[in-house]
């Protein structure tokens, strides 16, 4: 499991616009670099990120080789109700890492 830093406000007022910040450890190997022997280093990137709020997708991004290592994504959403915010990152091997954070909306 890759290390992840996620910043979601624990509490928000109904209708408030909240900022969500995520950072995940990943080499984001482009596939264009050569190793010490001259052989190409195989591409290994996260190619998809999604965020859903109580089951509804609120943000999605596709990644390409020009994204730097340890990708940082910040975006905004509207705090509608208390519940779960689920983050998932999918890499070139098809593996998905999922993280869940709770939010309380008053």
């Amino acid at each position: 499991m890759a290390r992840v830093l996620i910043n979601v406000p624990a509490q928000a007022k109904r209708g408030e616009i909240i900022e969500i910040k995520t950072l995940i450890a990943h080499p984001m190997e482009t596939g264009y670099r050569l190793g010490p022997t001259g052989a190409a280093i195989p591409r290994d990137i996260i190619n998809r990120f999604t965020c859903s709020y109580n089951g509804e997708e609120v943000f999605r991004a596709e990644f390409f080789p020009a994204i730097a290592a340890n990708p940082f994504i910040a975006f905004f959403t509207v705090a509608t109700e208390s519940g779960q915010i689920v983050f998932s990152w999918t890499d070139d091997h098809g593996e998905t890492q999922t993280e869940i954070r709770q939010i309380t909306v008053e």
Partner: protein, 255 residues
């Protein structure tokens, strides 16, 4: 003749510009762009914190033939490691020379844990170093006044002021005499080691002070010191002395 003597005197004065005094000392943070500064200031945006998190795990992981973790001897790093990074490199009596923080961690591994040392610049060593140094964030750099360190400080100072490489430049010529000016597109910083291990955007990873020094040395076309070499540690020691009193920022973010 008199004019020539004056000219020579002026040239000598310029060549031996004084060390930067405490009020004029500026961290690399002050030369970084607003985006890099914002990234460093926010712990959930600072990618160096990923290393600190990994280091926290390593701190509690058993290793070696002794099957002990760092935490079993040192306890809670938040108290036991507080201020430690601010006084490294420190003198190691058994070796009769100073050790940098990475060297100290590796010595702890071989002497007390019975484990293989981490490779220099490996992710694990940088992470554990970042975790230890993070406990000193905000504390002033305080080089110990040990008499044993004196010859190594002198060596470090000598290396800092010695011209080297095909470009025949000393560290001092850029970082004492010309800081704040530009070298191509980049501002020349004063060269204070306030945030190491540092997350450098160019590297896309954490890196040690010695990696940064090797970068500079390759830049002036000099032969860089090996990681952990006595010269590298002496230079590191002198740089810490030169930055005495400045707060540590680990993990810093630099362009």
């Amino acid at each position: 003749m008199r004019a020539l003597v004056l000219a020579v005197a002026a040239a000598t004065a310029a060549a031996t510009a004084a060390e930067i005094g405490p009020p004029d000392r500026r961290s690399g943070y002050d030369f970084a762009g607003p985006e890099s500064r914002a990234m460093q200031d926010d712990d959930t945006a600072n990618p160096g914190m990923l290393g600190v998190l990994q280091g926290e795990t390593l701190w509690a992981t058993k290793a070696g033939t002794a099957d002990r973790s760092c935490a079993e001897c040192h306890g809670d790093a938040r108290t036991s490691m507080k201020g430690v990074a601010a006084r490294y490199p420190a003198f190691e009596r058994a070796l009769a020379r100073p050790l940098d923080l990475e060297g100290r961690i590796n010595r702890c591994r071989t002497e007390h844990q019975g484990a293989a040392p981490f490779a220099r610049e490996s992710e694990d060593l940088l992470a554990l170093t970042a975790f230890v140094a993070y406990q000193s964030r905000g504390l002033p750099i305080t080089v110990p006044g040990d008499a044993e360190l004196r010859p190594f400080l002198d060596l470090g100072s000598e290396l800092f002021h010695r011209r080297q490489g095909q470009l025949n430049l000393s560290c001092s010529q850029c970082h004492d005499d010309n800081w704040g000016k530009r070298l191509a597109g980049a501002v020349i910083p004063q060269g204070h080691p306030t945030g190491y291990p540092v997350y450098r955007l160019e590297w896309q990873s954490l890196g040690s002070l010695q990696r940064r020094l090797r970068n500079c040395m390759i830049g002036v076309r000099a032969e860089p010191y090996e990681y952990g070499a006595p010269e590298a540690v002496a230079l590191e020691l002198y740089l810490m002395k030169r930055a005495q009193g400045m707060p540590l920022e680990t993990p810093a973010v630099r362009p």
